[in-house]
């Protein structure tokens, strides 16, 4: 059974989606979906515990050995990302089953397919398979984005689909170049062949640059990030909360490709430009939070802010920075998702003013005010919650690098801007009110309350557990930055040697 653990996170949502299409009644679909995502949490927790022994688990699909077949590769980072996806999936699905899923057709199977794509993208060790899982994820996300209807969603959908189709075309060009120059698409085999002479280095370099550009489009790096706030703020609350992890797929992909393939062979590919662009993304996102006119737009800019902060990590190519980035990634994902769910509840509470930052009926429920305060403190990176710890860890590790002072100045001043934006807009949503037009606030469904409070509680909880979590992140980062062990683990020590003939 242990041998088949790596495929379980993909099979569970896949089976759930098929079952949901067979039993089309909403109640059946809901229970199957919730049960499957709960099972997914159990399976991925187990996988994370298994992966923590430091061994690389390679699962050859169809038992075709790498590099001829497709392999799933589970290391600590991949296992932790599947666990994070499962937790986020369960909570957003719980929120959606309070009524959001009734606003259109086929919500539940598409949600599960989105999970299949996300989990597969984290697990696969083959670049073409990564492309396929990206497309599974994107196809489901196109339809989920339009779920609920409305012109704004259709409009945002067109931009999003066109951009991602162009991204897919560039991804395929990069894959064609890689296969043409190196003769393989398995990441470990690519890393192995890159270190050998006999291939066209300029073409391989171009291919990797294109690949990084595609991942940067998904992650939201500055010149490619203008679609993100527009799209995320148009999506429904639970869908936007799930989308938060999609930017993280791009970031993890850049981290992995950099650590395994680029660091040994062309370590200078990300130098000079990535840190600058990431800092520019952070500045733009911080200004965006100030300019946002409604809470969901503010939440979308916060996602972009965390993406920019995280993209500082790959260019440094250091295990310490990556360890801090992994902790920051986990906490920022949960905090970002919490904001989208809060925006959904506040929209429902405030009637026609929705979540716009204008004077209107306040969201009065006391738990909502405490939850907003906690989420805001986490997102702004103020002590004592996990946002502060994550940012502190990143800043401490980034102190050593050449661009350290600039990074410190930008991150700290942008954190200040975010704090101003959150404080000002929180007052509008929760305090400034028109007493004359105060309607009795509608009761909030228990699913929504539970899901939102659990996501908000992740802020304090991840701060309490920061010790063990950052230790795990350190071990994960050490394993990530050992490309030799990755190549030997996937190809086998003997295969790595016998494969050492010159590529075509």
């Amino acid at each position: 059974m242990n041998a088949h653990a790596p495929i379980l996170p993909i099979l569970i949502p896949f089976a759930a989606a098929l079952l949901q299409m067979a039993f089309a009644r909403r109640r059946c679909q809901r229970s199957v979906g919730l049960l499957a995502t709960a099972l997914l949490i159990v399976a991925t927790t187990w996988l994370t515990r298994l992966a923590d022994d430091g061994q690389l688990r390679v699962y050859a699909l169809g038992d075709w050995p790498a590099p001829f077949g497709i392999v799933l590769v589970v290391d600590r980072l991949a296992a932790a990302m599947t666990l994070l996806t499962a937790v986020l999936g369960f909570l957003t699905l719980l929120y959606a089953s309070a009524g959001f899923d009734e606003r259109g057709k086929h919500f539940h199977p598409l949600f599960q397919f989105q999970l299949v794509g996300l989990l597969g993208a984290f697990l696969t060790g083959d670049l073409f398979n990564l492309f396929v899982f990206f497309e599974v994820m994107l196809l489901a996300s196109y339809t989920l984005l339009a779920h609920g209807g409305g012109l704004a969603r259709t409009r945002a959908g067109i931009t999003y689909v066109v951009l991602n189709l162009i991204g897919s075309a560039i991804f395929l060009i990069a894959l064609g170049l890689l296969y043409g120059t190196l003769g393989t698409l398995n990441l470990a085999d690519l890393a192995n062949r890159l270190t050998l002479p006999g291939h066209d280095q300029a073409l391989a370099r171009l291919a990797f640059a294109l690949l990084i550009a595609v991942f940067a489009l998904k992650a939201g790096l500055l010149p490619l990030s203008f679609w993100l706030p527009h799209t995320y703020s148009a999506a429904g609350a639970p869908v936007a909360a799930l989308f938060v992890i999609m930017t993280k797929v791009g970031i993890v992909a850049i981290l992995r490709v950099q650590a395994i393939a680029l660091a040994p062979a062309m370590p200078d590919l990300l130098d000079n430009w990535l840190t600058t662009l990431a800092l520019a993304t952070v500045v733009l996102a911080a200004l965006g939070t100030l300019a946002a006119g409604r809470l969901r737009a503010l939440a979308a800019w916060l996602v972009l802010l965390s993406a920019g902060t995280l993209l500082l990590a790959p260019a440094q190519a250091s295990a310490q920075v990556s360890a801090a980035a992994i902790y920051y990634l986990v906490q920022s994902t949960l905090a970002g998702a919490a904001f989208f769910l809060l925006a959904g509840i506040i929209t429902a509470q405030r009637g026609s003013t929705a979540d716009h930052f204008t004077v209107g009926p306040p969201a009065t429920a006391p738990w909502l005010q405490v939850a907003f305060l906690t989420a805001a403190i986490t997102a702004a990176g103020l002590p004592p919650f996990s946002g502060f710890i994550g940012k502190l860890m990143l800043l401490m590790t980034l102190r050593e690098v050449a661009a350290g002072p600039v990074i410190w100045a930008v991150l700290l001043s942008c954190g200040f801007l975010v704090m101003i934006a959150l404080a000002r807009n929180g007052c509008y949503l929760l305090w400034k009110n028109q007493t004359s037009s105060r309607p009795a606030p509608a009761a909030v469904a228990w699913q929504k309350v539970t899901a939102t409070l659990l996501l908000v509680a992740a802020g304090p909880l991840l701060a309490v557990l920061a010790g063990p979590l950052s230790d795990y992140a350190k071990r994960a980062a050490t394993q990530l930055h050992a490309p030799g062990a990755y190549v030997a683990g996937v190809l086998g020590t003997a295969a790595a040697k016998s494969h050492a003939e010159a590529p075509r």
Partner: protein, 112 residues
């Protein structure tokens, strides 16, 4: 053969990019289709072009002489299927946008 394919890929890409930069959804859709043709041809060529060489190893063959790489063909098939599905979805989305807003402009704020 190589030059012909390279010219075809180049012309398709140029036309595709030109159409994608139009401001209405239908030309953009056509542009994406042309771009995906170009990409598929390019992927196909990544296994090297050989005439009269099947992707098969015949029984009793001692050496791989008259043989072409089958993997790019499998990749192209996957890419065609995915690209076709995506384009079909975009067409539906564009039609929905047209019927909801009465305009096929890709930019939200501008009227044609």
């Amino acid at each position: 053969m190589d030059a012909l394919l390279a010219i075809a890929v180049g012309v398709l890409t140029a036309c595709g990019v030109f159409l994608i930069l139009r401001a209405r959804t239908f030309p953009v859709l056509l542009g994406l289709t042309l771009l995906s043709y170009a990409v598929n041809l390019f992927l196909f060529a990544s296994g090297r072009l050989r005439v009269d060489a099947p992707p098969l190893i015949r029984a009793g063959a001692s050496a791989l002489t008259n043989y072409t790489d089958p993997l790019p063909q499998a990749l192209v098939l996957t890419a065609i299927v995915i690209g076709f599905g995506m384009t079909a979805y975009l067409a539906m989305l564009a039609l929905r946008s047209l019927s909801e807003s009465g305009s096929d402009h890709v930019d939200t704020d501008q009227q044609p």
